[in-house]
């Protein structure tokens, strides 16, 4: 357990791509922490470093310097095997596209992290998740037989199935219409409020950001704002002001 219920702590993160004159600093010193049971949105214009930050927090990329502590573990020095286990046991992921394995059914996709770990899923928990995402009658359908919104809801349920320390969502609504987006965002909100999950979401959609408890805005690899998001209009206002 980290202090003050902080589940992710990032300390002076730098990430440089390329070398010499062509070098680009995607992150130029980011220090922040994410508390348990909170829904945080990260916004910023293209190239602001928001995706890089999420990848480093989730152990998918390594910082040039700085440290990340995840549920009490310093992850930037871990080898691939340890990182893989960490992702499997402590993290949940929701991506923009291609979240599901096309050859597996909705339910098999849902329990995939447990299957990979060779663990038996908790029936009750799985049933509850299926009910929550509203796919009771779609359990044995394959992804190709589901709508984009349904697929993304399965992906959210999958991210929750192993009761991870943090769920990272990378533009989870980027590919959906507004109705489906609303469903997915409500699900993420529910995960925080009802299941006590911690969610970190990267988005460029002010409406999505408005569902969060906290909004971090990045620009040129630095945090330029960190506050409660307020309404969607307020988020748009904030982004305009920062530009």
């Amino acid at each position: 357990m980290s202090v003050n219920g902080q589940v992710v702590v990032a300390n002076d993160l730098h990430r440089r791509y390329g070398e010499g004159d062509a070098a680009v600093d995607a992150l130029a010193g980011v220090t922040t922490a994410f508390e348990r049971d909170r829904f945080t949105a990260i916004m910023g214009p293209s190239g602001s470093g928001k995706s890089t930050l999420m990848h480093i927090l989730a152990g998918l990329d390594k910082p040039t310097s700085g440290t990340v502590e995840l549920d009490g573990v310093e992850i930037t020095k871990l080898d691939d095997t340890k990182l893989t286990e960490l992702r499997r046991d402590k993290l949940g992921f929701v991506f923009q596209f291609f979240n599901l394995i096309p050859v597996l059914t909705a339910e098999e996709n849902l329990v995939l992290p447990l299957s990979i770990a060779g663990r038996k899923p908790d029936r009750e928990w799985v049933d509850q998740l299926v009910r929550t995402v509203g796919l009771e009658d779609r359990r044995t359908h394959r992804p190709a037989e589901l709508s984009g919104g349904q697929q993304q809801r399965v992906a959210v349920a999958r991210a929750l199935v192993s009761k991870p320390a943090v769920v990272f969502a990378d533009e989870p609504t980027g590919n959906l219409d507004s109705k489906a987006s609303e469903d997915v965002l409500r699900l993420l909100r529910q995960a925080v409020d009802e299941f006590g999950q911690t969610v970190v979401m990267v988005t460029h959609d002010p409406v999505a950001a408005a569902h969060a408890d906290r909004l971090i805005t990045l620009q040129d690899g630095k945090i330029v704002s960190d506050a409660a998001p307020g309404s969607a209009d307020e988020v748009i206002e904030l982004q305009k002001r920062l530009d």
Binding site: T84, F93, V103
Partner: protein, 852 residues
Amino acid sequence: MTSLGLKSLWARKIRALTTTFAVVLGVAFVAGSYVLTDTIFAAFDEIFEESLSGTSVVITAENPVKQENGETPTISASLLPTVQETRGVRLAAGAIFTPGGFFDAQGEKIGNKFAPKFISSTLPDGLEALNYVEGRKPRGPREASIDKGAAESSDLKLGETIELIGQGTARKFRLVGITKLGSASFGGASIAQVTLPVAQRLTHKLHRFDQISVAAAKGVAAETLKRRIARKMPAGVKVETAKENADRASEEIRENLGFLPTFLLVFGFIAVFVGSFLIFNTFSITVAQRISEFGMLRTLGASRRQILSSVMVEAGAIGLIGALLGIAGGFVIAAAIEALFKAFGLELPTTGLQLQSRTVIVGLVVGLLVTLFSSLVPALRSTRVPPIAALHAFNPEPSRRRRLIYLALSVLLAAAGLAMVLIGLFGSGSAGTRAGLMGGGAVAVVFAVSIFSPRLVPPLATVAGWPLERLRHLTGRLARENAQRNPSRTAITAAALMIGLALVAFVTVFAAGLKSTVAQVVDENFAGGLVIQNSDGFSPIPNGAAAAARKVPGVELVATIRGSQAKVIEGGAAGGTVQVNAPTRDVDAAVNIEWKQGGPSALRGLRGDEAIVADDFASSHNLALGDSFQLLTQTRARPRFRVVGEFESKLGVLGSVLVTQPVMAREFAQTQDLFDFVKVEEGADEAKVQALLTVGSERLFPVTEVLNQGELKEERENQIDGLVKLVYALLFFAILISIFGIANTLALSIHERTRELGMLRAIGMSRRQVRTMIRYEAVITALIGAILGMVLGVVFAALIAQPLKDEGFTLSYPIGSLVLLLVFAAAIGVIAAIWPARRASRLDVLQSLQYE
């Protein structure tokens, strides 16, 4: 568009490399078969030419019936003075050149077991072809020389003792010289030289020659001399110029070994055939992956023809490069096959490797045609890509109509193929035509199964994947699903392996049948007891062996059998060749004879003008008891025989016709035994008798071996096993290509699934699990190939065994070997997956997720 084709080839180097490699392996095997056999024949030509250097005219006995084994006719030594007196003859000498056996001082066999060994006589200088590289020619009755190859293989030094055996007992000689003939190697064959009188005595050819060699006087043409000599020679003597003789020998060798190029080329074309599946699959996948690229080109105004030519140029380049590398690789393959033959005890003469223009042309044509032909269907598919495919996901799934066409095509092909096989099996026509029909039919059936197999992939993958899913739940499950994801791709990949494994299964089942048949034949023919035979299993043995065996305590009787090939004279002309044997009258005490007409008394009282015939011989020549028939023997004699008995053939040791031994000697010029059958006295210990006989035969007649019934069976079975292993080894090339095929398909499929793999890794799948998943996918693909191949192989073996049933062939199914074949196929999958699995497990998670 040409440059686009070449550029896209360059852009996908790895894929191009594996495809090229498939062409290279196939072409290399074809080219290698030619290079090796050309080299072998060139070596024989060199040997025949060299062995007649200095000789202008050669005199031998006419031989109208070629013998598979046994003695050949000789000429009388009394002809020599007549030859020597002929005008224009500078020098003439008689010579002996007869098969025998060589042993070192310890009684160890010199040279390879199956390779021919010849006892030859020295010739006067001017006619002698052998060069003495060490020591000198043998002069006295106790001196001999041996060729360099044999001397080296047995580490023989001048002054040491060697033993030579012809038709009598083994004799000891002092080694006084080591010889060499020209630059070609003899392969496993070897020559020992002794003086002429010694050679005649060793081979029981007193006052006889195998050949008279003649050197012409200065200025006398060989042709002229030949005519002069021929005029003075009696009938049955053949006079040839040295060139004619060498040419005839070359031709005979090409006839006798004619099966060898065909045999090897069959394996070469199997490799090419398997390679064509790999090429087809690679191009299909490439075209599928480039659909949006083709769509874009079409939007920009490229015509269908241009798209087609860009794909075909890519194929042509691969075919050309592959063919050129393959022809070069032919030298490596030739050397590899030669080494393989050597390892199996089949050594053949060699000289410098021969590259004939025919080899280059065939290699190029095969490489180019196979590549172009295999890529034609995928290339045509690329032309059907509509411009809209550049913008939308285009689903290249074949339409319902097309799938029905494929189904009809596979049914038609299967029917046509089966019909061809059946006509080949049961129809008339030459053996070559029938073999061609069966081969063509088999190819058609393989095509039919390949076209139909996409429908078989889902159920077979479920069967093959079941144990893996039980064992490794998720990875097994995903592997099975991935194998089923694109059934036609998996099907073609599996079909390539199917071909190789079908042949392996066929050979395995057929060989098991042969072995059980052989065992049955031995059991049915021999009434227990022991058999004395040549240790090579087929050559005759000195007839002193039987006489010596009769003196061994515990031996009740020794029946012997001699034999020769002869032609049946039908309507005045010589027809088919049959095996004529001459047993002793007590042979029925050691060999079971099922009498159909006549009985033991016919055998006991058999006269010189009488014969006992096998039932199949009687029926095919319409002979009943009392009828007579005429044979043409190797000595040009035409004896006539009256049928006095008939026995059941049962593939037995008795052959087709039985005559008396004096007739065999007089009319067929055969005085040596093929087999001696020893009947052990009632109450005597068979093992003890065998030990006594073995000691005696090792000392007196080292070319012989004494076997009991069990050993005889085992020896025959071992011969079949040897051949089967050789065939397995040659099929390995085809299987190797299909391993590349599996690896290539996997690599391309993984490439398509990069993002999916990235996602699996992101949510916690370990590298090891990724490798396992891919390995299992390969194993499932390989097992599908194995199951299809085994079914095909077993069905073909059962079909081909049908007409042989009448001749006593019994089919048996070696379940153990077939299960082993499945394990072998799984191992092939594991090997094929090594590289793709490693590549997949090392994908960078983040890059894979962002991969478009």
